[in-house]
């Protein structure tokens, strides 16, 4: 029950009067407010700032510090107030939680300070209301990530007992762990740079021989360039082989992007070595040299930013795909239009639709080389529409990509969506547990036999119980429920009485019905259990009599079902002997009960109707005969109580 509506409990209880005429069973006694103090103001002094509230407000959440008796530890006798040596600003949110039932997270507060306050006052953070929950979770996640990063930075102390291979791998992955690694890191970086520059300079026209045209440097200083290339490739090969050796999982290493780039970077050289200077293949060979430019990608091992760029492009694949698709569509449309518009004019460069593609692309990206221009009026109009729409189509997906990059760059991209789902599931699970805790609280308190001591129409029983039972009852009351809870439980108990059914745990409900098939019972008399279940009042007696002959046979299986359900549940509850004994106190069998007998006793009790004023046996076909284990069956004076469903 959300304690925010605790103030309406009196109303709900008053409305229960509407059930009274319909109920067949007597109602349980209402819990009394023993210390019937008028609702009083209590003063909470938090580091000098005084907060005042009604005592009832705090009692709404009995499982927190302020709602339970734990606050008595902080009671100051001289000043008659509760003193807490905590932050008064944060206390505001906590007190508002009691007042309104909603916990808010103030944005300007530090997340760990807030968490500490919540933990101190016994409030779980999952009940932060939805308006502030996302903010809270984001801040918390950021904090954790930052802490983890700090941890990782400190984790680089060398662990003992690392094999040579592991040391090498760590050296490759984190260059700043040792001097050797750092040296290696810089040397490879240097050689990558050398190699790239070499490739570039190779094609620059060097100074020429006087009677020849300019030749590129590569052809002039062939040996020098060849030596440089060889050196670089050797370094790269050695590096690749060393990484391959050190990798913990060679297969995974070989599949990774970086290693593929490495391979592609050095392969052309070896292919070139192998191939001869054949004319046919030299064309292909030249193409292969293009792949040498992939060496520049090796720099991404050295630069975090490059890696993030790669991640971004990968994660924005859908936006990029959309961009490409929309561009393609637009290009085709406009190219077609331009082609047909320019068809008429002579000497037009728009010879075919594919030829118009070039114009469209250049126009849409606002490059405008001017090598192809429309000459007709229609062509010019469509050309201008083309360039306007080009701006739109390209400008739209780009900001998304940009924001993605910035987000990833700032947050060190993780699989955000997957984690959010897991977190959401965990949060819901925790909230469900705490909510079901309150709805199960009633069933649990029944299990503890609390409610049964509050039976209404049992003066004799109460007299008998009072010497020994009341002590237990008082202890249990003190231990478990607050007044609010006991009143709420009383209300639910009245509902049970009205409808003649009981609340059970979902678990038990299913168990009871799953195992019916497995159990056999010695057949009790068909009259044993009632037609529907527990009926036992004077009023239903008449109906029971009427319906007995009719439903004798078909309720037989029903009885078995219910009996076996009872038996099963009884069997499971054996350890709770003390509560059982208190339950069955009145059937003259105190102390440890044999489970079977208690099970049977309960069934017997079920069918005996109650009020002592009525004549003794409910109906002539009442149960005692099949019940050999419980000889001193309740005589009319002792009535029964309700049977716990457990």
């Amino acid at each position: 029950m959300a304690a925010g509506v605790a103030a309406w409990l009196p109303f709900a209880r008053a409305a229960a009067i509407g059930w009274m005429p319909v109920a067949n069973l007597p109602m349980p006694v209402a819990p009394t407010n023993k210390n019937k103090h008028q609702d009083e103001l209590i003063i909470l002094n938090v580091s000098g700032r005084r907060f005042q509230t009604w005592r009832n407000t705090l009692d709404r959440y009995p499982d927190t510090l302020l709602g339970s008796s734990e606050k008595e530890f902080f009671f100051n006798e001289e000043t008659r107030e509760y003193f807490f040596d905590r932050d008064p600003d944060l206390f505001r949110s906590i007190l508002n939680f009691y007042r309104t039932g909603k916990l808010h997270y103030p944005r300007y507060e530090c997340i760990s300070a807030y968490d500490e306050e919540l933990a101190f006052f016994g409030i779980i953070p999952e009940i932060i209301s939805d308006c502030c929950y996302e903010e809270y979770k984001d801040r918390k996640r950021e904090n954790i990530e930052r802490l983890m990063d700090d941890l990782e930075d400190n984790k680089d102390s060398k662990l003992p007992n690392m094999t040579f291979r592991e040391t090498m791998w760590r050296a490759f992955e984190n260059p700043h762990t040792s001097t050797m690694a750092l040296v290696f890191y810089y040397v490879t970086g240097f050689f990558i740079a050398i190699s790239v520059i070499t490739n570039v300079v190779e094609t620059v026209p060097c100074g020429s021989m006087p009677n020849q045209r300019d030749i590129p440097c590569g052809e002039r200083y062939t040996e020098a360039f060849f030596c440089m290339d060889t050196a670089c490739v050797m370094i790269f090969t050695v590096e690749y082989l060393m990484r391959l050796f050190a990798a913990p999982s060679r297969y995974r290493f070989m599949r990774s992007v970086m290693s593929i780039i490495d391979v592609v970077a050095i392969l052309p050289y070896y292919i070139g070595l192998v191939m001869t200077n054949n004319e046919d293949v030299s064309g292909a060979f030249v193409t292969l040299r293009v792949f040498r430019v992939f060496r520049i990608f090796k720099f991404s091992r050295h630069s975090q930013g490059l890696r993030i760029l790669g991640y971004t492009l990968k994660s924005c694949a859908s936006e990029l795909g959309f961009l490409l698709f929309s561009l393609t569509m637009a290009i085709i449309i406009f190219a077609t239009v331009m082609f047909y518009a320019e068809k008429g004019s002579s000497s037009s460069k728009f010879t075919s639709i594919p030829a118009s593609f070039w114009y469209t692309i250049v126009t849409m990206t606002t490059l405008g080389y001017g090598d192809m221009v429309p000459k007709t009026i229609a062509g010019k109009i469509f050309g201008s529409i083309c360039s306007l729409s080009g701006v739109l189509v390209i400008a739209l997906p780009v900001p998304v990509i940009v924001s993605n990059f910035s987000r990833i760059y700032h947050q060190n991209q993780r699989a955000d969506k997957r984690r959010a789902q897991k977190v959401q599931k965990a949060r819901l699970a925790r909230m469900r547990i705490s909510k079901s805790g309150s709805s199960n609280a009633f069933v649990h308190s029944k299990r503890n036999g609390l409610n049964q001591s509050l039976e209404l129409t049992l003066p004799y029983y109460k007299m008998k119980l009072s010497p020994q039972g009341s002590l237990e009852e008082d202890q249990q009351l003190k231990k478990t429920t607050s007044l609010l809870e006991s009143q709420h439980h009383h209300l639910l108990h009245c509902l049970e009485k009205t409808t003649n059914h009981e609340f059970v745990d979902e678990r038990l409900y299913e168990q009871g019905y799953l195992q019916t098939a497995l159990q056999n019972f010695p057949s009790q008399s068909p009259s044993l259990s009632s037609e529907e279940g527990i009926t036992g009042t004077c009023c239903s007696r008449r109906t029971k009599k009427n319906m007995q002959p009719l439903s004798a046979t078909h309720t037989h299986t029903h009885n078995l079902q219910e009996l076996s359900a009872l038996h099963i549940q009884c069997g499971e509850q054996q350890p709770l002997n003390t509560s059982r004994s208190s339950l069955n106190l009145m059937s003259d069998e105190s102390g440890s009960l044999n489970c079977k007998s208690s099970g049977l006793v309960t069934t017997a009790i079920i069918s005996i109707p109650t009020p002592p004023s009525n004549n003794s046996r409910a109906s002539p076909d009442a149960p005692p005969p099949p019940n050999p284990d419980a000889p001193p069956l309740p005589n009319p004076g002792t009535d029964v109580v309700k049977i716990s469903a457990l």
């Binding site: 309406w8 009067i17 319909v22 409808t499």
Partner: protein, 225 residues
């Protein structure tokens, strides 16, 4: 010619309107919603002395009641939705909305669709501090769904079904489909003295006064506040 010009102007105006709607979007609609929001009812109850005279509560009790009432319904009235929500929170196992609906109609004596604090407190005064006859009258009024002075079997079945709905699914013994009906039959057998198929107020009061259980349970909630 003039007709053509008129049509042109008309078309132009429509075009201008659609362009302006394109530009302003749904801003106009939002403004209308804002106006609606402001016209929400806000009600203040009569004075404390008047309520004290009209009901059986003293000032302190009225204060406590009003604080709780105002906390959940800051606007001063409860509408049916809120009522159902509040009531359902006390019965998490099952579905309390049907019974809450009948309760709402019983509380809302003026049939205005919302419960003000006066209605609330008047009903509570009867239920908690009234005489037995008054309580039974109120209960009769609750059961009599169409307020015609008779409780028919159908009305009673509806009420009983609503009560059983509050129990939810996981009960022991399991709920059967004709449990409410049997319950209603038992009830009618007890209440309907002249066997005419309906229960009148007098029959109801008379039968309830005969039954000790009911009399005793009516006194159950005396000390609720």
């Amino acid at each position: 010619m003039s007709g053509c010009a008129r049509r042109c102007k008309h078309g132009l105006v429509k075009f201008a309107l659609s362009v302006s709607k394109l530009v302003t979007g749904t801003l106009i609609k939002d403004r209308v919603d804002d106006d609606l929001e402001l016209s929400v009812v806000c009600h203040r109850p009569e004075g404390l002395e008047q309520l004290e005279a009209q009901t059986n509560f003293n000032k302190k009790e009225l204060q406590v009641l009003y604080r709780g009432f105002k906390n959940e319904c800051p606007s001063g009235v409860v509408n049916e939705e809120t009522f159902k929500q509040i009531y359902s929170q006390f019965f998490p196992h099952g579905d309390a909305s049907t019974y809450a609906h009948y309760l709402f109609n019983a509380f809302d004596s003026s049939h205005s669709g919302s419960i003000k604090f006066e209605d609330f407190v008047t009903a509570l005064s009867i239920l908690l501090r009234g005489t037995t006859t008054e309580k039974l009258e109120w209960t009769f009024n609750l059961y009599d769904i169409n307020k015609d002075g008779y409780i028919t079997k159908e009305e009673m079945t509806d009420i009983v079904k609503a009560i059983y709905d509050m129990m939810g699914r996981f009960t022991y013994p399991a709920m059967k489909t004709d449990t409410p009906k049997q319950h209603v039959d038992a009830f009618f057998q007890k209440m309907d003295k002249n066997r005419d198929g309906v229960v009148t107020l007098d029959e109801f009061i008379f039968s309830c006064q005969e039954d000790e259980n009911i009399m005793r349970s009516l006194q159950l909630f005396e000390n609720v506040i």
